[in-house]
Amino acid sequence: MIKMAWKFLVAMIIHQWAKWRGYEIFTPPGPLQYRDQQCHLCEENEEGQCRICKCLTLSKTLMALEDCPRGFWHRVWLKSGRDS
């Protein structure tokens, strides 16, 4: 429970900081498709929920600053208004 609360706190701080600094909050379409494919093929994906981090893969892949707990995909640091 403490671990989950800590992860939530860290996630919120990262997202707020990124938003403040002008980074994209949502994953761009290309990396999003790649992330979806990786999660779809992953053994740890149990009906849309990651067994390792217990997050819904949908939300995990959607947020640009999230990363895969198995290292299959990484954070996307992209400034708003710029091309990838």
């Binding site: 992860k7 996630a11 053994e43 740890e44 994906n45 149990e46 997050c55 947020m63």
Partner: protein
Amino acid sequence: MKAINPNIFPHGGYWFEDTDGSKHVGQSWAGVIVRARAYRERQGRSNDTTGDEVITQACKRTPNICSEENPALKAQTKLVSLKGRVLLWLTQARKVKETIPLVFVNDGMHAARSDVCIRCSKNTGMPDGCGSCRAALKALRVDVVGSRESDPRLGGCAVLGEYLPASTWIDTPAIANSELPAECWRKRSL
């Protein structure tokens, strides 16, 4: 139907012996099912019952990792899936917004809709989840409806899978769904 507790490591590891004698080993039960399914697919065999067969065999071998599916477990699964449905709905609303600008209702209409939803039995509170789920929910809501605020008692619609703090603001046509309560504003134009 039995359910496996994924948090217990089974004695002897995660494995399944197929009807033809082949043994499939994985890092988790889901992994074993994926491998068994892939194996059967390559052989052109039916895959419909592979998951059930793996679970049944595992429960027979190590009964202590299994339990009968109970209403509490089903309710929890439903809550998890509701959050998924809500996130999917918000993602779709965001995609729609990119092509067609959303039309929002005025404050009075929103208050009337919220009043109906707050008293509705299908209004389900969103369970506390992981950081990314909460961040995604918050970010998507802001992206879809902007700074429009809603009553904190609004959660997700268990029937439609809509996020009520957002859907009560969006002008959408009425729909026909027998599962919705008679007083639901989504059934008639309000």
